[in-house]
Symmetry: D2
Subunit: 343 residues, 4 copies
């Protein structure tokens, strides 16, 4: 049984962490902080938690986070770096669900996130929390940078092809689509249902913060720079990411589905679908699974990988708990055994 | 050809007014004001207007509204009352799409809207702009209070029964459902797609501002106080209001559909459906029509009236233009002849 | 550990039963039948079950249902009555999620369902499976008629008021709204997304099959006939029912929220919200809870009860499992402890 | 004034043709056929047409189509080819909104559409009705093959780059997304709201019928074979197509937005957005416009073209009327001047 604290519990990532953690057999939730909602019962803001969690939100300064074994930051970018050093010093382990520790090159991070990093040394220490590539390092880590939602879906989709050197890494395309919960739970005009419902659009085509994150990982795996075009789109639904990935094969004789199935055969949360399948985001709604199918249209040299996750689970809270399980020596799937909510 | 000014053109009511007015043969749009967006092309904010309108938003103080023949206020409550007196003095006619001039009893208005009214004398003068009950007064008016969306659907649904004294007015129930555009285009958490999508709820059951508005009109028609229970709900869609109305009949021998059809036979924008029909909000999407069907389940003494409108058209911008047409002596349907966008 | 068979597993009720049953610690799923899909892996039709269930659909004649301890019928109306007698004779217990055994008056049933009942004697024996009113009888039953979705939300909402004789039972109104999954998973034009998306409508106002079911239960509780007006509506979302109930109070001095909270204090799946609350269907998405709030607008004599359930869980599969738990002597909440998926 | 007949008027393409044609100043609708609905008022099936169209559906054999000047086929594939020869012989002009006359190579057509073509000679004669490339031929045509929805959005997006030889035509990628109305208005499980709502997926990745259609056009323009990977996706919304197109530039010194704006400057229905813009499907809801933006992420050699249309308008009924206008010598924009319904 570990004591868990959540910093910033009023967003979609926060409530999803809570949904999963209240069902986790080895977790006791100690504190959930929110400046704005301090003192209010958490289940008043999120009535799905009625009867499951009796805590109130607490002010960060009163939350006694030091005594927690594990801290999750479910805060806006730039917040975790303020207080992570002291919590690590107090002996807590930390998982940041925001972007503060994801990009190793501080200059790159500062350019994309528009602020000065306050603890670059912790960036160097932090482990990028994608278990499918960093499981052992995660098990040793004090500080884990939980991957972004798009990077999770995209990286898992490209990984076998890049790792095995099967494609031209100078021309990768990721056409990614996300539900609106990716934009978070904060007052904003562009995320109104009146703006996002019954419509579809691309955004940030000139450059999205998840681009350097994906490139960093794929470059690390390829051991040489990759060139990725990443175009995110907004889907009029709440949960789910679908990444459609395009790459040019250097060898068209391989059975790619078999290759992927072999590659991921021991991964509890990556599910390779049979030949000809088309994964749907709803099949993984509420669960930590990434479902992947791979096609080679007209038997040509273009590989098309279809990769779906729930952006709030494998793309955020679920993956954070998977990392927690690894860091704490629990079974990796503990508390993450649910079945997708279909329909 | 008249010169039209719109005060506050960045909301959903504003863009809907623009959509309809750019197609109106007797209207020249002179100015559309917005403090926040002054100087920006309107069609940059609303790309559906590209090629249809080349104006920029203008600052209210530069907009030369005095020279307009007709002013529409598409502003938050409490704004129109600030400048309406001077525009009327300058000879403009004014239609307020907000609530500033809807409630005759200033005490009631101030209680529900939580502010002090700055020009009560204009409230007395203002005509409530529901043409189906006030057509002649509208034709003479300088100042029209455009009805709220719920009040339009509800009042048109109850009107024949109340007017003809066929029901017990001490027990009226209006169970009303609205799409999210009714909440406007302003940054807010409750109107995020993440909050309103794929979910349904009632709100403001203890009291909604449209209750006194509906009660005022029905009381005026009944010539005695009515007792109305009004429960609004939020539907996960953008446009449309569906009011389901319940009343106890004092006489069950009448053919209610025939009665409604007769009552509304000369109304260009009220369409009574045949017996057994169930109007859908999509049938009136984008148009100024109110479709109504009336049922008497199990041949009992409860009348069930189903009334649908597009909240942004007959519930706001379309009705405002209908009022403008009446005030200016144009054909009442001018510029409002479109066909509902189905599906 | 009991052996469970599901007759008709290709609909939404079927997949929801499977989602919940594969996580139930005392259940072994023996067979899931489907004539049309016999031989196909269930997880091919429903990929959310991949890795959770390795069965194929089986043809009813090969399914060896006789050896099951518990049979669920997730079939169209009129199917369960064909084979229930032989399964009961073989010693199985049976829960029918369709309507075959819900209405005690065979004449009424045959009128509303348009067919001849083949085993009226079993209708007499069957227990109506709403645990909140029939828990003890369910515990003894061989055959349970699982309630309809609207009846569950409506009956639980009216129950305390009717049971305690606080309202005029001659004028009950239930304005109910359902997501589209209530229409099932069968090819049909009216349930296309092109027909139901972004629109709202009432349907079956002249009479819906759930009306006699609700009336039967409320009449039984009131010990005299009730008069109910029931108007169902279709909401452009997948899951969820919201019933808005109206009744005239005979005494306005009571604290209704307190009364409801007391009434349901021992019920694990009925959650009475505090005064002023508005339940949202999303708060119970995927779970077996009914959330209820009760209002008295303008402190008048009209009670407004807001009652929400997930139509596929408390309105179908979840309640069926709750009944199974009671019939089998398991903890009533076993396998139903999940947290609602919000957002 | 011309007499128009519509064969097959009960689908989404049919009702959209009717919505536009009842507002067209030079059109008199003579007959709308439907075997299944013959005799029923059209406005009973489509209540948005109440008061706008008083015709009933007629049986094809009674419809006297021979006397029409213009026939639209809004029928399933394979229907138009049955009766087009006789209607042409009778002197009618014909526009087929289905695929019967789109593919010049009969072998290719028969492979993709799985049937034998009954009038190959008319395929040779038919003009592919994309006015932006075939305006003059359309003006002379008796028979026009109206383009598919995906081909319209995709072809207009690639056209300037291909025509001017600026890209590597051996590696074109079209990642296209469509609302569900593209699947038509026919009973089907996959198009239920329960299946398509709140979810996103790719489909037909191994090969979609619109692939040979797009390839044929682009090959014709390039004057050499192009190699296109085309991946369609289903978006949980009703109307709209968004095509995201990827191509490798051979020259990165050009201002692509300027080039597109020049290329399309005389086109009434192609609107090139300024640099940095992201078109939204809602901006063209209900109208015949294709909005296009073009990006070059990270100033690299990959061009990303974003192209949106309303699949039922520029992708079907609107483009058909544009073709009719050209064939009949009307102003090309006649009856197509509406403004997109936003929000």
């Amino acid at each position: 049984m570990i004591k868990v604290g959540i910093v910033g519990g009023t967003g979609y990532t926060g409530v999803e962490l809570l949904r999963l953690l209240v069902q986790h057999p080895q977790v006791e939730i100690q504190a959930v902080t929110s400046r704005a909602e301090a003192g209010k019962p958490i289940s008043e803001l999120f009535p799905n938690l009625r009867g499951k969690l009796t805590l109130n939100f607490s002010d960060p300064k009163d939350a006694d986070l030091d005594n927690c074994d594990m801290i999750f930051y479910a805060t806006p970018n730039g917040t975790a770096m303020q207080t992570t050093p002291e919590l690590l010093a107090a002996g807590c382990k930390v998982i940041d669900l925001a972007a503060d520790f994801r990009i190793k090159d501080i200059t790159v991070w500062e350019k994309w996130y528009g602020m000065t990093h306050t603890c670059p040394e912790l960036v160097a220490e932090a482990v990028y929390g994608l278990p499918e590539i960093n499981r052992q390092a995660i098990a040793q880590a004090r500080l884990v940078a939980n991957p972004g939602c798009y990077p999770t879906a995209t990286t898992l989709g490209f990984l076998p092809l890049v790792k095995k050197g099967l494609i031209d890494i100078n021309q990768l395309i990721a056409d990614a689509k996300s539900g609106v919960s990716g934009a978070g739970r904060k007052a904003s005009v562009p995320a109104l249902m009146g703006e996002t419902g019954e419509s579809f659009k691309a955004y940030a085509v000139s450059g999205h913060r998840h681009l350097p994150e994906i490139s960093q990982t794929l470059t690390h795996i390829a051991k040489q720079p990759v060139n990725l075009t990443f175009v995110p789109h907004l889907v009029p639904m709440i949960r789910g990411i679908h990444a459609t990935l395009y790459a040019t094969l250097q060898d068209t004789s391989l059975d790619l589905t078999e290759l992927y199935a072999d590659f991921y055969q021991n991964e509890p949360f990556v599910d390779v679908l049979p030949n000809g399948a088309h994964p749907e985001t709803r099949s993984v709604r509420g669960v930590n699974t990434c479902q992947i199918a791979i096609h080679r249209p007209q038997s040509g040299n273009t590989a098309v990988v279809l990769s779906v996750i729930d952006n709030l689970v494998k793309g955020a809270a679920g993956q954070a708990i998977q990392n927690m399980n690894i860091m704490c020596g629990f079974a990796e799937t503990m508390g993450l055994e649910g079945v997708g909510l279909l329909p």
